[in-house]
Amino acid sequence: MKYLNLAISPAKADRLYWLGRYAERAILSLHLLRRYCNADIDADSHSPLETFATLMGVPTAALKSGNFVADYLYSTENLSSIASTLAAAKNNAMLERNDIKTEVLAYVELAVNTLEAAKANNAGVFELQPVSDYLMSFWGAVGEYVRSRAVRNILTIGRCVERLDVMIRFCYEPERIASVLETLESVDEAELALCDNQTIDYLRKMAAMPEASSEALSKLNSLFAA
């Protein structure tokens, strides 16, 4: 067991971190898209969707043609689409099969396959709950099957960073942001000191000053890439 913890190369840590980020991004994007589409039902213009796109920082070109939702869900050219996000999650997950286990990878596969089937049927965002369910199951399975604490920790760091990023963009209440920080701080017991004080400082800074978040994020993203 000892060596399993140590045998994490920088490249592997980077993939795990991004797997955590992409999986969480897909969950949050679907969740928020549903919420803003719902608001859109009552709005007389497309403004809720425009707000969503702006806050999320994704291309808005498809708003005019009324194609935004389909494009954002399924386009493989649009790098911020859910399809691209899940593809990126899967790319990282596949390479980490031996650490996350086939049982856990399976939930990413299921999410991707379900989204592909939905695309073939032109399904709308409200029909995509099963994709969210699989991704939530992915996180549950991470807790259940992943044996190496370091691997779990790095996945959790990615997850929390993504949550913080999205919560700050969408102006969540400070208490909710604080609770994510708390989760992160519980990770820093890791013998790897991945989530050292400096990292936590970046994250605090991000939470306190949204305008500093892009700088903090790029620092975080380069954490493992070294």
Partner: protein, 444 residues
């Protein structure tokens, strides 16, 4: 279809098995027109069933064959007594592309060269098994029947309650035992993969998972002062004791072999030569899985073990021998011709499929470079039933058995059965679009 076979219940669940395969990402990569595609490796739920009696002979024969091959490898790189005693011609060995002069004098840990051997066999109409080739470099395929069994047992436990099939789910622990047996200084054990664009990447990651070892990519490993390390986080490094590499010899070390290789680990060969790391399978095995050397394997069994070979080779002709040359040239239309240095079904040609013009071309090629070719009689091997919608069709299938050698040599009671999907073809290789079956060995 009324079906009283021992796998009838399983067939009712075959869609469920395929769903599970998809869910587990059981894929096989192929290059088509220059681009990489990943597809589900077509699985046929009807198993190949091998009787307990057949298996008894096969497994003894396979272990015997691999022990002789390991003895041969040690001998050709050290004393060369088999050459001195005139059993295998010297220039035949030294002209083999797989012979690596760099390996002369090196004896790997536990004396094992071929730790994981994939022996390809076919069964003829009359039930006789023939060995078609010995894959001793990086044979792949064990992961597929391994996961297929896991999934078929999940969807149809009653099938396995009724039929007494030897369990094959211990492959990863057999593999792990081999790695433990040869591990140097209790170092880290890694499966080294060239990366996700390798056709067998699924297998690399799945075997690493199941054996509980680290999956390493080339950049994760480095050599310092002839010791091999895994590059950890925060500049930690961990000594590596054994590398189960899924990269071929020529790409493993740019300092010793192919200079342009980006997949390699610089200086790993030197660490290996000093005995500081075990390489699974060892360097230089290509000389024994050369399709020309294959001809001599039954002789090796007699020479090294003093036993009669239990398994037969397909009748093979070596054009370097004058009598064989004449026979091959005269009988080309009925023979199979193989390029000794090719694999994956690429260099295999059937005389009966060739035009008169092509036959002449091949005769000219054999004349120009007799060492490069072997010829075999076509074995009319049996067709197996394959599901095709709700009915079955007959297709050619071969069988790859896996033999694992550490301190002991063990034969895995299962194997990869590959089949062609083309009704006219004899070539079953996955790179040629074939599918696979589980292989059941009956306990009684």
């Amino acid at each position: 279809m009324t079906d009283d076979s021992i796998y009838a219940k399983l067939l009712l669940q075959r869609d469920a098995v395929n769903k599970w395969m998809e869910r587990c990402g059981v894929r096989f990569g192929i290059y088509k027109n220059g681009s990489f595609k990943e597809q589900i490796f077509p699985f046929d739920a009807i198993p190949r069933v091998i009787s307990a009696a057949d298996w008894q002979t096969l497994s003894r024969g396979l272990a015997q064959r691999v022990m002789a091959l390991n003895a041969f490898l040690k001998d050709v790189y050290t004393k060369r007594s088999i050459i001195r005693d005139g059993i295998v011609p010297a220039d035949f060995v030294f002209s083999s592309k797989g012979y690596l002069p760099q390996c002369e004098g090196i004896i790997p840990p536990a004396d094992v060269f071929s730790h994981i051997s994939g022996i390809d066999l076919v069964q003829a109409d009359d039930g006789t098994w023939f060995v078609l080739e010995d894959n001793l470099r990086v044979p792949s395929g064990a992961s597929y029947p391994l996961i297929a069994r896991d999934l078929t047992r999940k969807v149809s436990p009653e099938t396995f309650a009724d039929a007494s099939v030897l369990d094959n789910r211990d492959y990863a622990s057999l593999l792990r035992r081999v790695l433990d047996d040869v591990n140097v200084s209790s170092g880290l054990e890694v499966v080294l993969t060239p990366g996700r664009y390798n056709s067998a990447f699924f297998e690399h990651s799945y075997l690493a998972e199941k054996a509980g070892v680290v999956l390493a990519f080339p950049d994760d490993i480095f050599v310092e002062d002839d010791l091999v390390y895994y590059k950890g986080l925060l500049n930690k490094k961990e000594r590596v004791g054994v590398i189960y590499r899924r990269i071929s010899d020529e790409f493993m070390d740019p300092m010793t072999f192919e200079k342009s290789s980006l997949l390699g680990i610089p200086n790993v060969f030197s660490a290996y030569r000093k005995g500081n790391v075990a390489i699974v399978n060892a360097f230089g095995n290509g000389v024994a899985d050369d399709k020309g050397i294959y001809y001599f394997v039954p002789k090796m069994v007699k020479y090294y073990l003093g036993e009669e070979p239990i398994l037969r080779n397909a009748p093979t002709y070596l054009p370097i021998f004058p009598d064989d040359y004449k026979y091959v040239i005269d009988n080309l239309p009925t023979l199979v011709i193989k390029d000794v240095a090719e694999a994956g079904g690429y260099g295999v040609m059937f005389g009966r499929d060739m035009s008169a013009e092509r036959l002449d071309q091949v005769r000219a090629m054999i004349k120009a470079d007799p060492r490069r070719w072997i010829a075999q009689e076509v074995i009319n091997f049996i067709d197996l039933d394959i599901m095709d919608g709700d009915s079955t069709v007959k297709r050619k299938s071969d069988f790859r058995a896996f033999v694992l050698s550490g301190k002991n040599t063990e034969v895995w009671p299962s194997g990869l059965t590959r089949f062609t999907r083309d009704p006219k073809s004899f070539v079953v290789n996955s790179s040629q679009g074939g599918g696979f079956k589980d292989t059941w060995v009956l306990a009684k």
